[in-house]
């Protein structure tokens, strides 16, 4: 029997845990969140991704109850949250600024929420110790927040928000200050916690790789609006706009006019170049301006012209970015456009096949690129 995939958003009988219904938030005349409607389901790991100032924290603060929507409603488990104060919501938030209590030790910071619940001493101690262990802060339990490093503080904030095992956990840039290794470990730790406890996570991050790693769905935001909500792979493979394609991962975008041909479109993007063909089920009018987005790793670089591919372009290597396991080539076409191509470095650097100024052939398949209207 195949394992049932976790896709409550595709199941019409599933009730969402959180519903945003036409939510707007204005600060004076400034609109921070603009009429947003979307759902988050129980046990999801929902990532909010977007540039600085696009409204991610504002979204979280509305969920936690620190800001009231100017318009619209937020429902949690079908219940309107508007009249419920933050301390009565089964929601915990990890603050972007950590907001650790400076007069309390690390231990007391983590125990703070548990004590408010009136748990007995032994339970609290056990829980706090478990959290300290999880975040590897055992050695620092008696320190005050000003006596530990930035990354350690971030872990205390994380431990404090996890301690109460809430129904919904809001993490505002939870891992920003951690080094790459600890960050990755903590990401897996979070996913593990999520699996074990069934908590619903909403996580804000600047880091798209992090969003791709942990999230069940990613919402890409721009200027107070969610541009696309989708699973990480669909966001990556099927972005709905050049904004999303550009925001997530590396991409080359070519602008041109389309003409429909056998189940797809030809895109004329430069006068001295043949048209590029892409399979697409989009409905585009003939002659319409469209954008072709292609990921660097889907573009092959070869010294000879490949015979079996429809999309073949000749260019000159302008730049090589060596990333260790990968190399990214910036290839300039005669018309000046630059296409990025990425190859895995299976051989040692010394045996690298191409170098600067080499003339190469770029090619990709019919389905490698996506055509976008905007």
């Amino acid at each position: 029997m195949p394992e049932k995939t976790f896709e409550p958003w595709n199941d019409p009988t599933e009730k969402p845990l959180i519903e945003f219904k036409g939510v707007s938030k204005r600060f004076g005349s400034f609109t921070a969140i603009d009429n947003q409607t979307f759902d988050i389901y129980a046990k999801e790991f929902f990532a909010l991704l977007g540039p600085s100032g696009c409204g991610k924290t504002t979204m979280m603060r509305m969920l936690a109850g620190f800001e009231a929507p100017t318009e619209g409603h937020i429902l949690l488990g079908g219940q309107d949250m508007a009249p419920i104060p933050p301390n009565k919501r089964q929601v915990n938030m990890m603050f972007q600024s950590y907001a650790l209590f400076p007069h309390l030790s690390v231990w007391e910071n983590i125990a703070f929420g548990l004590k408010r619940d009136g748990k007995d001493k032994a339970t609290i101690a056990a829980r706090v110790d478990a959290m300290l262990k999880l975040t590897r802060l055992e050695k620092f339990s008696q320190r005050k927040p000003h006596q530990i490093s930035g990354g350690q503080r971030q872990r205390v904030a994380l431990a404090r928000s996890l301690a109460k095992a809430p129904k919904l956990l809001l993490l505002d840039e939870p891992l920003g200050a951690l080094d790459a290794k600890l960050r990755q470990e903590t990401q897996f730790e979070l996913m593990d916690i999520q699996e074990k406890t069934g908590t619903t996570f909403v996580i804000v991050t600047h880091d798209q790789e992090e969003a791709m790693t942990v999230a069940s769905r990613v919402a890409v935001m721009d200027d107070g609006r969610i541009v696309q909500v989708d699973t990480p792979d669909r966001i990556y493979e099927n972005p709905n706009s050049t904004y999303v394609a550009d925001f997530i991962g590396d991409v080359t975008i070519l602008e041109g006019r389309v003409t429909p041909v056998d189940g797809g479109f030809d895109l004329a993007f430069a006068e001295d170049q043949p048209a590029i063909y892409a399979k697409s089920s989009q409905h585009l009018a003939s002659g319409q301006t469209a954008y072709l987005a292609i990921r660097p790793e889907k573009v092959s670089v070869t010294p000879e012209k490949p015979a079996d591919r429809r999309n073949v372009i000749r260019g000159k290597i302008l730049d090589i970015a060596y990333l260790g396991n990968l190399s990214t080539y910036h290839v300039a076409l005669p018309g000046g456009q630059i296409i990025k191509a990425q190859t895995a470095n299976t051989r040692r650097l010394a045996n690298r096949p191409f170098t600067w100024e080499d003339e190469v052939w770029l090619s990709w398949t019919d389905t490698a690129a996506v055509l976008l209207e905007r």
């Binding site: 936690a64 933050p86 938030m93 603050f95 650790l100 050695k139 006596q147």
Partner: protein
């Protein structure tokens, strides 16, 4: 060590002399044998002894301390509450008026404050005594407390309170468990300020004190009019001593806490 130039030495000496010579004279003459203040007749502590048997002075001292402790405590509570509203409540209707009214007594001439309170107490038929002095001192010193506390609250990170709410505190608990401990130093200095203001207030106290209760400053002032007596010198010396001890203890405590924090931080660095 930097060597001081003769100019620095002179200006320092002159400055300190200007500040402390009068007090020094007062202290010296409090140990004078003679009843004549300006004639030195040998060392004696008899005026201190006499002071302790003078019920009028002792009563006044007791009233002063009662008034100072109670009024500064009430002023601290009210002043802190006012500061919270001013800083936290955002823009509510009449905020400007409210904040103006809180700060107005700071610049109001004391005579006017005293007089208006006197009229009020007479108007509502309140007998003047310890209670009315306490009321009067509370009203003017709470402004000072609210200034001190609101200065601290302005730099207070509001997300700390939000975090407390988020973790299940009621707003009151959040204040008691998070905000208050963090702003405590400013509340304490507000209290100390109110305490000292009340301790040495003469003008407002003389308007609101009655025959049943006199404060020490009033007592000193009225005795002076009958001529300076060595007894008053002795009393003033004691007051100076108390204040000096207070200041020294306060600075030692703050220095001690600073040192301890430093030690904590160093311990933290060592891991």
């Amino acid at each position: 060590m930097i060597r001081l130039s003769w100019f620095n030495v002179t200006s320092l000496t002159l400055g300190f002399a200007f500040l402390y010579l009068p007090m020094l004279l007062l202290i010296v003459y409090s140990f004078n044998e003679s009843k004549l203040v300006t004639v030195w007749a040998g060392f004696s502590t008899k005026w201190y002894g006499e002071l302790l048997t003078n019920d009028a002075y002792l009563d006044a001292a007791w009233v002063t301390i009662q008034v100072a402790v109670i009024s500064s405590t009430i002023a601290t509570v009210l002043g802190t509450m006012a500061a919270l509203v001013l800083i936290r409540a955002g823009r509510f209707l009449g905020r400007t008026l409210f904040s103006g009214m809180i700060y107005a007594p700071l610049v109001m001439p004391e005579v006017i404050t005293g007089l208006s309170l006197l009229l009020l107490f007479i108007g509502i038929g309140l007998d003047r005594g310890v209670f009315t002095i306490i009321l009067a001192h509370t009203t003017f010193s709470m402004c000072y407390v609210s200034v001190v506390v609101s200065a601290r609250l302005m730099s207070f990170d509001k997300s700390l309170e939000e975090a407390a709410l988020d973790l299940g505190c009621s707003p009151l608990q959040a204040f008691r468990l998070v905000t208050l401990p963090i702003i405590a130093p400013s509340v304490i200095s507000g209290w100390l300020l109110a305490f000292t203001l009340s301790l040495d207030d003469l003008v407002i106290a003389s308007f609101t004190a009655g025959p049943s209760a006199t404060t020490l400053p009033i007592k000193v002032w009225s005795s002076i009019r009958l001529g300076v007596s060595p007894e008053i010198n002795a009393l003033s010396t004691i007051l100076i001593g108390i204040v000096a001890v207070g200041v020294i203890v306060a600075s030692l405590i703050s220095k001690h806490t600073m040192l301890r924090q430093l030690a904590d931080e160093n311990a933290a660095k060592r891991g």
